[in-house]
Symmetry: C2
Subunit: 417 residues, 2 copies
């Protein structure tokens, strides 16, 4: 067997567990030194490959690589950079091959969401289209949970756990205050196109919390929304509202776009949460508080789902095993065998069936009135949040690893992006 190097890169928005996948890839590769000499990580994703800015992961100790499992964010840097098609940008593909050749790279592991799956698919065709033998395996990752075939996407389960927990905690808070003060708590969550994360917030209803959830899948209707909130407050004395950043009016305009201008005449960018909170205040007079979780939700490794961490690691590990078994152009996937008890295993799917396919939340996961979730949705969500997997703490704060990230010596001329 020939010894080759592997290339690994992180792509798009990072998560609490993408480094667990990196850990799975690198630890699996280290178990096969007869096949994989080194894993070169792209500094800032695919940009690292194009600019020959490679990180020598062999310089990192086993302990530091193991610590990736409990560290959020992208340890090697990520990027938002989508390769165009081969016809539109042959230059970049030629450059990738040049870099792969110069560094004896035979395996390409790309860790990302939908756009990255498309890039990975294109790279997986290089052998056929440009005669360079490389095996490209996509490692799924996205808090948006919108990749097809796989039952769920690493990163999502931890965000779901964080949002459900945070909504529960803040709801207990507003319940305590409601008699004389705050009656409405609004939390804004990620999910521009799909309401998976918002659905996790809606789970607090199972603990007796009155909650109204606004999904991007459902056109916003101010009248029925306000009526739903009013009904909850009159019955319970308070109400929590979970609003997806992607919640929009029938004409497609996001709630967050209010067309307001600041003192200098600049467009004012706000969140959906303050818009919703003010709307309730104007119409119903209830005192409110609101939060925008933003990066806190996808970076919250301190509250990661153990299921999510385990799956992220297993998918990274499986990617290497698939490559060593000779596969190309595939993505390892999570298969749900049973929801209760939750049983999952890892399989894989051809990238041709993954690239450019977006998985939406089934309409029957959202309740008929559009403001809650259904039993099938609950059955889907709970297993993904199961288990805790706390990071180590030092002096009151989580101990997260920052790697050395030493550069591999360059062999080629500079390349302009």
């Amino acid at each position: 067997m020939t010894i080759k190097n592997a290339f690994y890169a992180q792509s798009g928005g990072v998560t609490a567990v993408i480094n667990a996948s990196a850990c799975g890839v690198i630890e699996a590769a280290r178990r096969h030194p007869e096949r994989i000499a080194n894993v070169y990580a792209g500094r800032n994703g695919i940009i690292g490959a194009l600019t020959e800015d490679l990180i020598d992961t062999n310089q990192e100790s086993n302990a530091d690589i193991a610590a990736l499992r409990t560290t959020p964010s992208g340890a090697f840097g990520s990027c938002r950079y989508k390769l165009k098609g081969l016809d539109a940008n042959k230059r970049e593909y030629e450059r990738l091959i040049e870099v792969f050749k110069a560094h004896n790279i035979g395996y390409f592991f790309y860790n990302g969401g939908g756009d990255s799956a498309d890039t990975c698919f294109k790279v997986s065709q290089l052998s056929e289209t440009m005669g360079y033998p490389v095996q490209a395996i996509h490692v799924p990752k996205t808090v948006d949970n919108d990749l097809p075939i796989t039952d769920n996407c690493p990163g999502f389960g931890s965000v779901a756990k964080y949002i459900a927990t945070s909504t529960l905690e803040a709801s207990f808070d507003v319940r305590s205050m409601a008699k004389t003060s705050t009656k409405i708590f609004v939390i804004e969550v990620m999910g521009r196109h799909a309401g998976w994360i918002a659905a996790a917030g809606a789970l607090v209803a199972d603990q007796g919390i009155p909650v109204v959830t606004l999904f991007p899948e459902i056109e916003f209707n101010q009248e029925t929304f306000l009526a739903a909130v009013k009904t909850k407050v009159e019955q319970y004395g308070y109400c929590s509202i979970v609003v997806s950043e992607g919640c929009h009016w029938p004409d497609g305009k996001f709630l967050a776009e209010q067309g307001t201008k600041d003192a200098f005449g600049h467009a004012q960018l706000g969140g959906a949460a303050p818009v919703v909170a003010n709307m309730v205040k104007q119409a119903l007079g209830y005192k409110f508080h609101w939060a925008v979780a933003d990066y806190l939700q996808r970076a919250a490794r301190h509250l990661a789902s153990k299921t999510d961490v385990d799956q992220a690691y297993a998918l990274g590990q499986k990617a290497v095993e698939l490559a060593l078994a000779g596969h190309n152009s595939v993505m390892p996937t999570v298969v749900r065998k049973s929801s209760s008890p939750y049983i999952w295993e890892i399989d894989f799917a051809p990238l041709s069936k993954v690239a450019n396919v977006e998985k939406f939340m089934p309409r029957d996961f959202i309740s008929a009135d559009g403001y809650g979730i259904t039993a099938p949705c609950r059955e889907y969500l709970y297993p993904l949040m199961q288990g805790e997997d706390y990071p180590p703490f030092d002096n009151g704060l989580p101990r997260y690893i920052t790697l050395k990230n030493s550069a591999v010596e360059r062999k080629l001329a500079e390349f302009k992006l």
Copy 2:
């Protein structure tokens, strides 16, 4: 010895650990059935006393009371209601005495911040001013950390841990994205008058994170602020910004007050975080993300500081011990014996020295440029965040207790607030 009942109430904004103090009070009382027959909790704070809406905590099992230790929020309901002075509102004090007499209440435990200490002090004088023998003990609680004499206030250490952790996690995230995308992350934290919580966010500098912190103690200077951010981004490629909700211009106007109006001409209430983020974008062009933690921070029992939980419990327990030892008009306090190793003990102080005194952050806790913290501040903060004390989890979510909160039978005529 006479057997009396105790009254316990939660007041003002709730915290992740105020129920740990409630647990300390009730468990200590249960250890002395020969002195304290029952702890009646005020439903929604002092309003429960005025309206004779008392909760019979003897109806709660030992296990459920123990579960208060790991449950955030105010289990009996809180309120924002400040008793006026005796001269201004004799009626309310007479009513309190009427309720205390009707229910044989001899001990008054009031769990709150500065305003509540003042109320508790007034109640402690009833024996002298109105001839009703009651011992009033204040149990400190406030995330604002602004009570005098006590080294710190329960609730604060857990918020500090949450904000420092969240800022660290989100900073790792933006560091991963900065090459091609987000370069600025802004987190807005509580603290209208004091920058204690913002200071906790500033701790991430110790982990190599470039951070600029905006304190309410320092008048906002747009020019030096933008210069500080620019310097960090040019050196590190990214920058985190921690902004206190109390951050304000030299004329006292909060940053969050932008005088903007929505499409209907209503004043637009936003947070300080989007204002700061947009300001940086306009001036320096950096892509940003922002979060407003709001209730999430003070309700985050899932990430409570063990030190904070232990102290909250100990202060509740001590309140009962002080009452049984014959004290009146006092507040148990935390005394710091040493920072490293952290050694603390519980003492107590007269309420006359606590009521209406606000403790601010010492100026020498903020760095000379106004955008960071100093060594004495670090030495003060770290011990308060030490240790983890996770709640139990069921099915992926924290198991928080909702008590039965059965009402004590009313004996008196209705009272209008």
